[in-house]
Symmetry: C2
Subunit: 137 residues, 2 copies
DNA sequence: AAAGAAAAGCAACGTGGTTGCAAAAGATTA
DNA sequence: TAATCTTTTGCAACCACGTTGCTTTTCTTT
């Protein structure tokens, strides 16, 4: 089973909450906020458990955080090139103003930006808001 | 006096807190967080007043918010092309990992990003972290 | 200077997130 | 499979950040 595999690969013990939360990510196309998880996990887990589980997943490189224009945090699955303690998020994030969903545009890599003399870039976050393809027409 | 001018131009009544807070922005090169303002205003104003003042300034297009990778909010002065109710922030933001300062790179415009078919961009936020020119060498 | 309008201060509240600790569940060994 | 050890969960309490309602104070206008 895929979920258990992922947890084992990351040396995490297999618990109900981890299975449930990881399952939510695997079954969701867009990113999830803490509140989405709390809602969809169905009253079953304490919020502290959800916070801790998300933190563990981030630490292990299973999910990554997405900063949004309205300053809430969302989480999405990482691609294979994220490993423990080191994320490689070189893709653009998109937030739809209509449906509110946030997506990782994995195929859109962050553009090069020419900085003024003296500045050294290390990480670049690009968050685009607008209308997503599901809401448009 | 410049401060009073700005307030008048934006049809704001001239109060101590507005003068003080606007002054902090005018005298600071980088962006300011709520906490910076609370500290530098010198115990003089209630936190609620600071929140409301910042909100008014944002609404009037005097300052704009900057989302940071660590999900705190910072504020910086807008350039002249921001007007009430409509911000035009087409520049890149830079956060220094060493000194923690955040700067508006007004000369660096946000790059064009080619989105997948069906997505319509509306606003693009680019936040770069790294080492700023003051900390580098 | 007086009256009306706007802003400040205060208290209280809500939300999002964290911490410490005891109880429960998972992993491991025999 | 049961016993032990380790990890995780749930709970309670707490803190930081931000908001709201209302009264008092300060600005503005005449």
């Amino acid at each position: 089973m895929q979920i258990d595999e992922i947890l084992k690969t990351n040396q995490l013990s297999i618990t109900d909450s981890r299975k449930k939360i990881l399952g939510l990510f695997l079954n969701s196309y867009g990113a999830l906020a803490h509140a989405d998880i709390e809602k969809n996990a169905g009253e079953k887990f304490d919020r502290v458990t959800i916070y801790r589980t998300l933190q563990v997943f981030v630490d292990k490189g299973i999910i990554h955080t997405i900063p949004t224009p309205d300053n809430s945090i969302k989480y999405a699955l990482c691609k294979d090139d994220c490993v423990e303690g080191h994320h490689h998020d070189h893709h653009v994030h998109f937030q739809c103003k209509q449906c509110g969903n946030t997506y990782c545009l994995d195929d859109v890599t962050t553009p090069e930006v020419k900085l003024p003399k003296g500045y050294a870039a290390d990480q670049i976050e690009v968050v685009i808001s607008g209308i997503c393809k599901n809401c448009k027409q």
